[in-house]
Amino acid sequence: MLVEYRKRDTYLHKSNPKVLLLGTLIVIVASILWTHPIYCGVMLGLLIILGQVAKFPWSQIKWFFKVIIIPVVFIMVIQAFSLDTSLLQTPYKDVILFYLLPGQRLGFNLGGLLYGLAASMKIYMVVLAVAILGYTVSPSDFIQMISRVRFASRQFVFIFSTAWRFIPIIQKQITHLLDAQKTRGMELDKGKLGERVRKLIPIVTPLLSNSLETGDQIALSMEARAFGAKTKSKFIKPMRYTLQDRLLFYLLLIMLALMIFAYTQGYGVL
């Protein structure tokens, strides 16, 4: 999890998860449709404002943005050198800033660069939207939301929630196993990449067998708490859905429809 849920008294935290999920969906659809850096820039700006409203802990995600900066620059450079710009509508599609090789070969195209810039911004958009969603909606509300969906069986909901809850347990087990290896004289940080990966193999067996044992124990505990009962659960927690949430939800739906329509008319396309 990039950023964990925190209980806060902000507008976003108080909103119905359905509204926030739809908002995130809009960002994802926009990232698929849009190729224009200005549109992507505006959306990114909007997400930053929403992050501020939600008191988003920027410091916790800073490392991730730093890590992906290299692939992002790489994408822009590759697009600038290699994109087939004939498909673009922008007037910059034929602007060559310089050539890498003599004889006017391998030109650095401004249109390609802008396309690459938009692609990079789309990565940030999606990551930020999902991170804000995870930060403002509690996992518990997520699961409640899923359990309301007609086709989601209780088993499916349970698998989802158990997986979510057991991630930290598995992470802790991995850390312990790696620590145990170090205390047995294994230099995990030395050697070439292949060698380092090979050194991790011994932890696979205990990790798997421990996980299987944990799984067995969970199944046993569930069984002892009537999980296999034939009766259908009627336990659905009421969720707050105010008039404001309702209005916002429909507004976002209209926005989504408009965005798709505008795309078909050429808006958002470079």
Binding site: T183, R184, L188, P202, T205, T214, F235
Partner: protein
């Protein structure tokens, strides 16, 4: 009150094995009783519990014969979910029993499975909060709770299903003393106040004596003893033969009875204190004698010369940066010492130990091992000098056979093959696993796996061995086995550091005790010195052993008694 659980001639063997794990068990339990089942590891206690709610044979397959009747239902022929509203079950590991994202959801899990309406489920959740006094945990995430809190929530989840019986399978074996106290107090309350029948599997005899109406002692799949606490604990020889711990109050009162000071065996410390306070000593208490267990060195107050092997200077550490988890520790441990670090969970014991092996880096301060600073040295490099045995052996056993496991460390240290062969043979003997040389470690018992984990460190021949909670979840026989092994290593010159919650092994084996509380070492001394400092122990939420507690509450006895033999010797001298 009528019989609520009845087992008649019950035998069981797991699928694909012929070995009977239960052999002709006959037990009757009355409604509202508090029954404790005890016995050494492998006695069949857990298997017996799993037959009560039908998990065996419905979920875990095998051949079950005989009749098991629980609240009028045939347990082996009734679906487990149907049994669940009559008989609840709480297991050892709380992490695998919590299913909700919040405590509230977890408590609601069982009742929701029964198909109750939202309102009914919430009523039961509220009842769990109130009756078990866990309302303070309402909005917390289960995985953020302490061990004791988690186990309280899992009991709450079972309680919310309103069963008539709750079976507890070693519910406190993974908890610290505060957690244990919390859980035992809940278990006692739901039995005494709400009339729920309790079946508790437990190793800790001191707790059994305090709570049980009836005790069942099992061994090798059979019931060896059953009856009231008095009846069972009067069979001291049988209990010793089975390798079970005898509570110190019973051990002492048996000695007093054998020597005609009292006329019956007394069960609890309170009873012994009352009886002993009735005597008038003829002479005053002799001057305190140092009862320091034998160690490798010789010299100062603890029997050692000043020859530091570990030096810790102003060690500070903070996990989250908002507060110090270690607050400037200064410490020196001499070669050949046998040190116990005690304190509640979160006191900083493991954090301190992990710094000594280099798994954690200090925010401030320095550590030296054998006179050399450890800063800049890798954990692997340090492992030549300091060995670390983790609390859970399953998190440090990697290989496919016992022998390979013992070879893993010395091979990483690039020791010569002939040397590895000889040390592996030697250690296999020392840890008593020679006959399991080629066995997959998962097939060993928990005690044997703990020994293997220790053996895997011993083959690396470090000067210092740190063992994090070596006896957690072990029966008494295995506890003594492990501690005797550590004593042998200490006598060979190794410096031993254990982290433990078991005060009796501290007084039996260690010559120095460090008491930690809130990131600080608040006491440092011999067991005798430590256990007389009642104020400081209370500050760290610790209690001395029962025998020290008894002595401290008898007006004429010295405060620093730490063993039953010592108590009896002093008592006899004063009375004759």
């Amino acid at each position: 009150m009528g019989t609520i659980i009845s087992l008649q001639d019950v035998s069981f063997n797991y699928e694909k094995t012929k070995r009977k794990v239960l052999k002709g068990i006959n037990i009757d339990i009355n409604e509202g009783e508090f029954v404790v089942i005890t016995g050494p590891t492998g006695a069949g206690k857990t298997t017996l519990c799993e037959t009560l709610n039908g998990v065996i044979p419905n979920f875990i397959k095998g051949d079950l014969t005989g009749t098991i009747t629980v609240d009028g239902l045939n347990a082996s022929k009734t679906p487990v979910y149907q049994m669940a509203s009559r008989i609840g079950m709480v297991f050892q590991d709380p992490d695998t029993q919590l299913f909700g994202m919040t405590v509230e959801e977890d408590l609601a899990f069982g009742p929701a499975n029964l198909g109750l309406s939202f309102e009914e489920v919430m009523q039961r959740v509220e009842r769990s909060y109130n009756d078990l006094k866990i309302g303070d945990l309402k909005d917390r995430k289960p995985f953020e709770l302490s061990g004791g809190q988690k186990q309280s929530v899992s009991i709450g989840g079972v309680y919310a299903m309103l069963p008539k019986i709750i079976v507890f399978d070693e519910p406190t074996s993974m908890l610290d003393p505060i957690g244990k106290e919390r859980v035992f107090s809940i278990v006692k309350d739901i039995n005494k106040q709400y009339g729920i029948t309790i079946v508790l599997v437990e190793h800790e005899m001191n707790e059994i004596v305090k709570h049980a109406d009836k005790v069942i002692v099992m061994n090798k799949g059979e019931v060896r003893l059953q009856g009231s606490v008095e009846e069972v604990f009067s069979q001291v020889e049988t209990l010793k033969e089975l390798g079970l711990e005898i509570p110190q109050s019973i051990e002492l009162s048996t000695k007093l009875k054998e020597n005609h000071y009292i006329d019956k065996v007394l069960l609890t410390p309170a009873q012994v204190i009352a009886a002993c306070n009735g005597f008038k000593p003829k002479v005053q208490a002799p001057a305190a004698t140092p009862a320091v267990p034998p160690t490798a060195g010789a010299g100062n107050g603890r029997g050692l010369v000043h020859d530091p092997i570990i030096e810790v200077e102003n060690l500070r550490h903070s996990y989250l940066g908002d507060h110090d988890d270690l607050k400037g520790i200064n410490l020196s441990i001499n070669k050949g010492e046998f040190v116990a670090i005690i304190g509640q969970n979160g006191a900083g014991k493991t954090t301190l130990a992990r710094h000594i092996i280099g798994l954690l880096k200090p925010n401030e301060g320095a550590i030296k091992v054998n006179g050399k600073p450890i800063a800049g040295r890798s954990v692997a490099e340090l492992s030549r000098e300091v060995g670390y045995v983790f609390q859970n052996p399953d998190e440090q056993i990697f290989t496919d056979s016992v022998e390979d496991e013992l070879r893993f460390g010395p091979r990483n240290l690039e020791k010569r093959p002939e040397y590895i062969d000889s040390i592996v043979d030697e250690v296999l003997d020392d840890i008593g696993l020679s006959k399991y040389r080629q066995v997959w470690p998962k097939y060993l018992s928990k005690g044997e796996r703990q020994r293997l984990a220790m053996g895997s460190i011993i083959t690396m021949e470090p000067d210092v061995i740190i063992v994090d909670e070596p006896t957690t979840g072990q029966d008494w026989r295995e506890t003594l086995w492990i501690m005797d092994l550590l004593r042998k290593l200490n006598q060979k010159g190794k410096t031993i550091i254990i982290i433990t919650h078991n005060m009796e092994i501290v007084t039996r084996y260690c010559n120095r005790v460090l008491v930690m509380s809130q990131g600080e070492v608040i006491l440092d001394g011999t067991p005798k010195e430590i256990f007389t400092r009642r104020d400081k122990l209370q500050e760290a939420y610790l209690r001395p052993t029962d025998i020290t507690y008894i002595a401290q509450n008898i007006a004429y006895m010295p405060d620093d008694i730490i063993s039953v033999d010592e108590f009896y010797q002093v008592f006899r001298e004063m009375m004759e």
